[in-house]
């Protein structure tokens, strides 16, 4: 059986889900709100990572560096200038995005493992810088901020960010712009020969990813009311966001959502039921998934569809991508 929803139906469904999510803070316990807001942060980060690594194939092992830049920018803006936190988080996001332009122009010249390791190095470097640059970051002591007045604000901020990133990814999947971005992953030289400025597309994706990570960092800082090098540059989160996108299927728009929700639930369940072994079971589970579904859950279904010889219905029959788009770059 095949269910194919019209665009209007999809939109309706989307609104219903959004409404339910918006009511969460009013309906459930504080514990569940914190669980959901963490989940939303995971979703936002997985989408941010997916934007650059999933669509262009430039696997970043240090995208959390931009989360850290967002965190520190936000904390310093609140601490030194007493800026309202949402504005500070937005500014932090913009700073991370602006930083990503020269960074992308330099780093995205590296390919494959060199880019991955280069980003990891950058992440380590920034963490070390944050610990030593005491006049700005207060070093390892960190910066303390006023505590959060209402958890719901944090929840809504993460919800907003996750929804924006989801919609941006959806748009990517349904546009000629997205097709051009995907050519970077498929064959950069071939794309260049067709008049596609691959540098522009790569840096664009990198900057969008930085904006997402930076904003998440800013909200996170306000949520924990504190920033130091380990909370701004969390090594575990760096890996978690990658695994979530991988599990769901990188380069797909449902992938990061599915991966984040699944992994978020599973790790919470394991942690609650096997307090001593949860990391072992978790690790085995991940190894198992990567062995048998290397392209993730969505990637697995996509591959099967491809082998059956069916095109991507959203692009080939829909009209969205076929409107003449003028060449960019």
């Amino acid at each position: 059986m095949k269910v194919r929803l019209s665009l209007l139906q999809q939109f309706g469904l989307f609104l219903i889900v959004l409404l339910v999510l918006a009511l969460v803070p009013a309906l459930v316990s504080t514990y569940l709100v914190t669980f959901f807001l963490t989940l939303l942060m995971y979703i936002a980060l997985a989408y941010s990572w997916n934007f650059i690594s999933g669509y262009t194939g430039y696997i970043s092992f240090g995208q959390i560096a931009l989360f850290g830049i967002g965190s520190y920018s936000c904390a310093i803006l609140i601490f030194k200038w007493n800026m309202p936190w949402l504005l500070a988080a937005a500014t932090g996001s913009l700073i991370a995005g602006a930083f990503a332009i020269p960074l992308g122009l330099i780093m995205l010249r590296l390919k494959g493992p060199y880019f991955a390791v280069g980003m990891m190095g950058l992440f380590q470097f920034l963490a070390a810088l944050a610990a030593t640059w005491k006049s700005l970051t207060n070093g390892a002591t960190g910066i303390y901020l006023p505590p959060v007045s209402a958890l719901a604000y944090i929840y809504f901020a993460f919800l907003g960010l996750a929804v924006v990133l989801f919609l941006a990814t959806w748009k990517l999947e349904h546009s000629v712009f997205g097709l051009r971005l995907r050519t970077v992953k498929e064959d950069e030289e071939g794309a260049e020969s067709l008049g596609i400025n691959t540098t522009f597309y790569k840096v664009f994706a990198f900057v969008v990813s930085a904006l997402g990570c930076g904003f998440a960092g800013g909200i996170q800082v306000f949520y924990v009311s504190y920033v130091d090098p380990t909370t701004a540059f969390p090594a575990v989160l760096n890996i978690t966001m990658i695994i979530m996108a991988l599990l769901g299927g990188m380069g797909t728009y449902w992938g990061p959502l599915i991966g984040a929700v699944l992994l978020g639930q599973v790790s919470e369940f394991l942690w609650a039921h096997f307090p001593y072994f949860h990391l072992i079971i978790y690790g085995c589970l991940l190894a198992f998934i990567i062995m048998f579904m290397p392209s993730g859950i969505m990637g697995y279904f996509h591959k099967r569809k491809m082998l059956r010889g069916e095109g991507n219905p959203s692009l080939t029959n829909g009209s969205a991508a076929l409107k003449p788009a003028n060449g960019n770059g």
């Binding site: 071939g190 020969s193 067709l194 008049g195 095109g311 991507n312």
Partner: protein, 249 residues
């Protein structure tokens, strides 16, 4: 129509101690089908990479429609109207045939929409029935045709074909020759063709440039090149004259 569309002047490319292309100069006439031949390692593909901006020349200049284009990036050249296909086909395997064509940024002065242009191009290379097929599931010959059609989305004025006949069966080769000729007649596109199948190149091209060890050893109308002794020697060694004559037929 005897204008020069592409002109290479003293083009040199050095990779460390290796002179891949050494002071090569040649002109390509507007509307012609020009062949670039030579044994393996002669520097043919390096020459294409220099023209298309994939490599920067060590010395020398390139002019396209009397404009100096030395050092331009590949995407900029493509937008100017220099199209190419690659030795190993470079279709986007994870996208459908149609998507492969749609993603090409339309030229600013394109009279037709991408949709109708893509349809026409796919029909003219015989892929009209495969529009929704993933490019990766096509046969190798079909992938080469797709790559050829895709490059025409640029409305190229100059089209460089790197070993477009390699891996095609005789029937497909015939069809490809006809397609190139038809495209030339219809769109006035200038072609430069690299290939190892000398007989095909001699038949298809009006003008031939022969390279050996990074240098141009002969150029002229195909009829003259056929009998040029330096060319025969470069290809087969001096004793294999009969072999070449046999192949040329």
């Amino acid at each position: 129509m005897n204008e020069t569309i592409l002109s290479a002047q003293d083009l040199t490319k050095r990779f460390g101690g290796l002179l891949a292309v050494n002071q090569c100069s040649f002109d390509v006439r507007q509307g012609s089908i020009t062949g670039l031949i030579g044994p393996n390692g002669a520097g043919k593909t390096t020459m294409f990479n220099l023209i298309c901006g994939n490599l920067k020349p060590t010395a020398g200049e390139i002019f396209f429609q009397e404009k100096k284009i030395t050092g331009y990036s590949p995407h900029r050249l493509a937008r100017l109207g220099v199209g190419r296909t690659f030795q190993l086909s470079r279709v986007f395997k994870g996208m459908t045939v149609r998507e492969n064509l749609f993603l090409v940024p339309p030229p600013a002065d394109s009279p037709k929409s991408s949709v109708s242009k893509a349809k026409d191009l796919l029909d003219s290379v015989g892929l009209g029935r495969h529009t929704n097929t993933y490019a990766g599931t096509l046969s190798y010959g079909q992938q080469k045709l797709l790559e050829f059609a895709r490059a025409f989305m640029l409305d190229p004025k100059l089209m460089l074909l790197d070993e477009i006949f390699a891996g095609l069966n005789p029937e497909e080769t015939e069809r490809q020759i006809k397609t190139i000729q038809a495209f030339r007649d219809r769109t006035q596109t200038t072609f430069v063709v690299i290939d190892h199948a000398v007989s095909v190149v001699l038949r298809l091209c009006e003008w031939i440039v022969v390279m050996n060890q990074g240098e141009i050893i002969a150029q002229g109308p195909s009829r003259e090149i056929e009998n040029n002794e330096k060319v025969i020697e470069a290809y087969f060694g001096s004793s294999s004259l009969e072999l070449l004559m046999e192949e040329v037929g």
